[in-house]
């Protein structure tokens, strides 16, 4: 299942909650303002392989399309 970009943004707490997003070959390293707004179940439902939350850094494991997904997300959040 390909990950759903808009559902990933929603799972991260929406456009306004995302500070930064950086792809690393299999995962998105994202920094958020408010970690309590991150919905891990929603992220998993969006088709990601796994989610790791540490402080306000969320690692979303999306598989080898991380670069493409990150640039799609950046286009949406601007």
């Amino acid at each position: 299942m390909a990950a759903d970009v808009r559902a990933i943004i929603a799972g991260l707490g929406g456009v306004d909650n995302v500070i930064d997003i950086e792809p690393c070959i299999t995962r998105l390293r994202t920094e958020v303002y408010d970690a309590s707004k991150v919905d891990q179940a929603a992220l998993r439902a969006a088709g990601v392989h796994g989610v790791m939350l540490a402080g306000n850094v969320v690692q979303v494991v999306v598989g080898p399309d991380a670069d493409t997904i990150a640039s799609d997300i950046e286009e949406i959040i601007g």
Binding site: I25, T26, V61, G63
Partner: protein
Amino acid sequence: MTTVLAPVAGTAVGLAAVPDPVFSQAMVGPGSAIDPERAPGQAVAPISGTIVKLHAHAYIVEGDDGRGVLVHLGIDTVQLKGEGFRLLAAEGDRVRAGQPVVFWNPAAVEEGGRSPICPVVALDAADGDVNGQVRGGVGAGDDLFEWS
């Protein structure tokens, strides 16, 4: 069946030994991992095919059957932003198994406080499709596991 080769020389320790849950929990696929020799050296292509992703610290070679194998050179090495790594091939290049892709120094990665362990992952393979994992000492280009 695809025979996946060890991309670096060292000790094959298995994915469970990798200090990163993405790999140790096989989130992106099963495979193996190598604790590399602490000496500068070449990381080679684990299978024949096309380099579909090439970062300084990680690369994916996809075979003509669409199977992708990920090689990650050390853990959290994205933070090095390529420093200490030299590309010996380019994204989009066709490579044969065993052909050099990146030159790096595992000792320098370790001195920087990061694990130089190298996960080798059969991307999106089912657990039962990867077997015959070699354990112990391997040279770069030696057989590492089979992907049935």
